[in-house]
Symmetry: C2
Subunit: 152 residues, 2 copies
Amino acid sequence: MGGKYFEELEVGQILKHQTARTVHDYDNILFSTLTMNPQPLHLDAEYASKTEFGRPLVNSLFTLGLAVGLSVQDTTLGTTVGNLGFQNVEFPRPVFGGDTIYTETEVISKRESKSRPMQGIVVFEHRALNQRGEIVMRCQRVALMLKRPIDK
Amino acid sequence: MGGKYFEELEVGQILKHQTARTVHDYDNILFSTLTMNPQPLHLDAEYASKTEFGRPLVNSLFTLGLAVGLSVQDTTLGTTVGNLGFQNVEFPRPVFGGDTIYTETEVISKRESKSRPMQGIVVFEHRALNQRGEIVMRCQRVALMLKRPIDK
């Protein structure tokens, strides 16, 4: 069990996640169609060739989803109740098929839950970087985390 | 072309999107594995049966992605440069396999881009509702929108 309980997370802690993932054009097609997104910027290479990017732009929510997914092993795996939300989700640079995404997470804040004494609220900042070390996504995720069970 | 140019969007406008989508357990598996998310809450029905939800919780980023996807036909289809980001993404209620997701969008604000005279920044609030009319996701999306071409 790789996730961390509320007590194990410290503000300022930075976790560099081991697994990276190369994004393929087909990820973009699969993600966009699965989420019913008809945007030609993602699906239509001819259309995209006439935009400022010159080729299909990877769906930004795929980048967000992948960055969160790659962080879970080290953060919330089996130690969360669920995601309460996200704040300040930014995409400073585009992602294209062939780019490789690396991720890191910083613990921004934590506090006890008022209504749930066995749980606490942790804000993670996730950052996704491409193969040139440029930040392509930054967000803050608000997670309702479990405290360590008494018998552990 | 169903998307709206910057000039066609008015603050306060509410768009109720026609296409709805029933979410299946397999969407959750496919989305979570595609984004490399190993969270047992999403993938492991035995684990999930012992949580407060009693069954797998649909990945909240699938709900976000689907709500945005279902809105694109009426908002940004072919009329956006790209997503700048998201703010205040909330998941007030859980989504489970079998739930049907309906969406609506409100135009929250718009302003001209300072650096790009042919473009403007529009903030959309997307809301996803389940079959009981309960809000399961609310977010604000910041989109860089094209102005109407001079020949249209």
